[in-house]
């Protein structure tokens, strides 16, 4: 094209790195007149600003030329006309100019970069030198500080103060003329003095040890002498025994007991002391004895170091044996751990409470060492043989005899809260399983032993003996009362089973002379059977019954009428009144819920404790309640005026009781209250 033509006319140019812009160099090839053209050098001579202006002008000229060509072409000029070609040529020249300018720009850029690079390298070298020097400086500084911190061992020795040193030390060591000036010498001197002193003290120590040995030997001799006196004293004591018996001062016996008592665990000891004190002061019939194996107790309290030497030998022997035997299974191991946890102390106390009628309550107190609680087992012995009343089977059962001595003290779970964690370790879920074997851990037993496991914040901070003393009298009274109540009930039950209500002479005034309704049956029930009865649900709902109570069924009959009575006796009888619930079978079935008069009879029997309890200690309560029930049934049946099935005929129960009015009040209640001595019935 035309641009190629333009290029052909230009001479070839070879670019060169160094030297002047234009150098004519003759070459071996020589067929072409080559000009060595060094643009680099030229570059230095040119001004970038000028180049920029040149660039702009060239662009403008190009634009103009293009516009002219455009005009010519649109004016209808032929392609290839002279003006167009002229202008085309000029455009070509302008393009070349532009190319040169572009090249120059690139070259300028490269030059600038190279210069920058060089300068950077120089700076880096210097920087490295600087860093090396800094590093060295730091190193030297560290070395210096290390040297300064060096402590020598001699500073750890405590030396006497300088004034003391100068005062005490002899002149050849202290050398004041030298040391006062030179600190180093002073320290050396002080060290010397220290050494001197220590040697002196070591001498003294040896001398003191020797003296001590001598004195020890003297003491041993004297001890031997004293122990040789012992058998002589024993002989004297033996000889005095008959004298003691003659004078009835069981001095020796008490001493022996005191001797054994020394090996008792603390709670049992407290109990022993308090019980003995109470017995002496208030209750001559109470007696306390210690029973059990004293040697085992002594073994327990032996110091552990002696046994360790034995153990190490026996361990060696056992190991040899064990390798032959198989290891015990996990279950057996756990069992052993359990047994170990529940271990009883070998000594136990036996407390005897005697009552006026000759029956005795034996209490055996045990101490469980690892659990730190006391337990008790009971036994009752009576002078007369207790007749076999079937319903009385549970009364004197040693498992439940002392149940609920204080309200809600069931003795089934351990009162020590720490035992819970111990039980978890050996897999005991409830203590109740072991209670029959180990005894009952009642709260009052713990209190008598001075053990306080705080539950309620109201408890005072009594501990030990004062706690035991504060509870002793009340507990003993309750125990005796419980035994008497149970024995009384036992006797009453055997009468009741023969359908005789044993009303004592002091209580005869509560009832009229003639009572026609009679008790025909008295049997014991279980808690399960009780809850199934329909007419006791109101008592269960009111929460007045628990599983530990005793349940009985009494049947009172007169003619065709049968009164079924469910009786709930609380273990704390007679402190807590027995509860009666009634169901009458006579021309239909009625209960206290459906018939207001039966409800009035229930309240007559359940509520009036002060009337029914009889002379103190209120052991006639149950029999009086039953007798009153019979009297009320009589009144109920005799005052029933309406004949239910509508027919007129002779009444089954003729009126014999004297009543002023048979109905009173909106609910038309019958007169159940007996007035003595007038002997008539009235309303409350």
């Amino acid at each position: 094209m035309s641009s190629d033509a333009v290029k052909k006319r230009k001479p070839k140019v070879i670019r060169n790195e160094a030297g002047t812009p234009e150098t004519k160099r003759g070459r071996g090839e020589g067929d072409q007149d080559v000009r060595v053209y060094n643009e680099e050098v030229e570059l230095e001579g040119r001004d970038p600003q000028q180049d920029y202006m040149l660039y702009k002008d060239t662009c403008a000229a190009l634009a103009n030329l293009m516009a002219e060509i455009q005009e010519l072409k649109s004016g209808g000029a032929k392609v290839g006309s002279v003006e167009i070609e002229e202008r085309r040529r000029q455009c070509g020249v302008h393009f070349i100019t532009l190319k040169k300018l572009n090249r120059l720009a690139h070259m300028r850029l490269k030059k600038g970069r190279d210069q920058t690079h060089e300068a950077k390298q120089r700076v880096d070298v210097l920087h490295l030198q600087l860093q090396n020097l800094l590093y060295e400086v730091m190193h030297l500084q560290k070395e210096i500080s290390k040297c300064l911190e060096f402590k020598s061992q001699h500073e750890e020795i405590e030396l006497v103060s300088e004034e003391e040193f100068f005062q005490e030390a002899p002149a050849e060591i202290s050398r004041p003329h030298v040391t006062r000036d030179d600190h180093h010498q002073l320290t050396l001197a002080r060290l010397d003095w220290e050494l001197e002193q220590r040697k002196r003290l070591a001498e003294q120590y040896k001398l003191s040890l020797a003296r001590k040995e001598k004195i020890q030997k003297a003491i041993e001799q004297k001890r031997e002498y004293l122990s040789s006196l012992q058998p002589g004293l024993q002989n004297i004591m033996q000889a005095s025994l008959p004298v003691q018996e003659y004078l009835s001062m069981p001095f020796e016996q008490m001493q022996k007991q005191a001797e054994v008592a020394r090996h008792l665990p603390p709670p049992l000891y407290v109990l022993l002391v308090q019980a003995a004190a109470y017995g002496q002061a208030c209750d001559k019939t109470l007696s306390v004895n210690i029973s059990g194996d004293v040697d085992e107790a002594k073994a327990l309290s032996r110091p552990p170091e002696d046994s360790q030497d034995d153990e190490s030998d026996s361990d060696a022997e056992e190991e040899q044996q064990n390798t032959k035997r198989r290891r015990a299974t996990v279950g057996v191991q756990l069992d052993d751990k359990r047994k170990e946890m529940l271990r009883r102390h070998p000594l136990s106390l036996c407390l005897d409470l005697k009552c006026k009628d000759g029956s005795v309550l034996h209490l055996f107190f045990y101490y469980l060492m690892n659990l730190n609680i006391l337990t008790v087992k009971t036994k009752v012995s009576t002078t007369t043989d207790l007749s076999g009343a079937i319903s009385a089977g549970e009364l004197l059962n040693s498992e439940s005899l002392l149940n609920c001595l204080y309200a809600s003290d069931h003795g089934k779970e351990t009162p020590n809260p720490a035992n819970r964690y111990q039980f978890d370790k050996v897999g005991i879920t409830t203590f109740a399983d072991y209670v029959s074997d180990l005894g009952h851990p009642y709260v009052w037993v713990q209190k008598l032993g001075g053990l306080q496991f705080s539950f309620d914040g109201t408890q005072s901070d009594l501990r030990g003996s004062s706690l035991s003393a504060s509870h002793m009298e009340r507990t003993m009274k309750l125990l005796r009362g419980r035994l008497q109540a149970r024995l009384a009930l036992h006797k009453q039950f055997s009468s009741l089973e023969h359908s005789i209500i044993p009303v004592s002479s002091e209580c005869q005034h509560l009832f009229p002379a003639k009572v026609v309704s009679g008790l025909t049956r008295w049997t014991m029930m279980s808690y399960q059977e009780f809850t199934e009865l329909s007419y006791v649900q109101h008592v269960l709902k009111a929460g007045l019954v628990s599983e530990t109570d005793l349940f009985f069924m009494a049947v009172v009959e007169r003619g065709t009428a049968r009164l079924l009575t469910a009786v709930v006796v609380n273990p704390r009888y007679p402190e807590v009144m027995p509860l009666f619930s009634l169901s009458l079978h006579w021309k239909g079935e009625r209960s206290g819920r459906t018939d207001d008069n039966l409800r009035a009879m229930e309240s007559e029997v359940n509520v009036f404790r002060s009337e029914l309890q009889g002379p103190r200690p209120g052991l006639q309560l149950l029999t009086n309640q039953i007798q009153r029930l019979c009297v009320c049934l009589d009144v109920y049946l005799e005052t029933e005026s309406q004949v239910c099935d509508g027919s007129e005929g002779p009444k089954e129960f003729p009126r014999e009781k004297m009543c002023l009015r048979t109905a009173r009040g909106p609910s038309r209640l019958k007169p159940f209250k007996f007035n003595h001595p007038q002997g008539f019935f009235s309303h409350r």
Binding site: H538, V539, A542, G543, L544, M577, L579, R593, T594, D596, R599, E602, S603, N606, V607, S641, Q642, C644, D645, G646, L660, R661, A663, R664, G665, P666, S667, R668, S682, H683, R684
Partner: protein, 323 residues
Amino acid sequence: MGPVELLHMSVFSQSFSPCGRFLAAGNNYGEIAVFSLSAALSPEASEGSQKPILNFTAHDGPVFTLLSTDTHLLSAGNGEISAWSWAELIKKTTKAAWTRKPSYETSLEIPEINAMIINPKDNSLIVGGGDNNIHIMDMETGIFKSVLKGHTDYIHCLCFKEREGEILSGGEDGAVRIWDSRTNRPVHCIEVFKYEECARPQFGKWISCLATDSDWMLCGGGPSLSLWHLRSMSPTSVFPLPGCQREAVFHQDLIMSVGEGPYVSHCLHGGTVKAQIPCTPSSLNTLALNLKNTEHRVMTVGGSSHQIDVFTNFSYRAFSLSF
């Protein structure tokens, strides 16, 4: 009051205060308890607000009837009537304003007082009880001005007809007697048990509840609860309720009655039993409607239990107050 005493307690009478915010109840131990209805019905009511604000022994026999005047609460025990100022009771002072005894002939056993009503016309108190007679006492002077004799057995219930000024009394002898209050003379005597439709000989003949509403009278007890038209002196409807009713009231177009059986019966005038709403006590003695106060419009029932059921909507039991 131990749990055993509570188990054997019966509530016999109730009365609302004149302002309608308090309820007084009397029981068989002679105690009166005052409950705060506004506390028990408020949204922040707790267990404690269902207990009485005041509980005291008013008489030594059971309190069979309570009555409220504009200022005082009248209570009846064994043969005596005491008045307590409501203002004092709310302030928890338990001193009786006055105590009067009607004159009784026999002295061997003191008769009880079963019913009391007020005759607003001449401001007199009419009481009936165990001595078979009705005594009328003037409220201002306190003198017992007259005795109405006629019943042969003790009186259970009393009622007053304002328009004619007549006193109706029902008794154990089965007779409903109507007396003129001005002349104090008997006007009529209806022996309900002689009417075949009402009579229930298997129960007995006593009348234990009476209520009147203009010309209509309700009576029941041993015989079935029946609605009588007084002009014609004949029973128009008999209600087939199984137990013996002890109290019945007219309320709007319903008849509500309580008695033996643990429910409140709603009946229609026609003789049908519309509903029987169950309650906690196993048999009921008293029913009271608080109509004086629109905020605390409740019905309360009490009977053989220490709990008094409260109905805010008459169709079901809302909660129970407890002695």
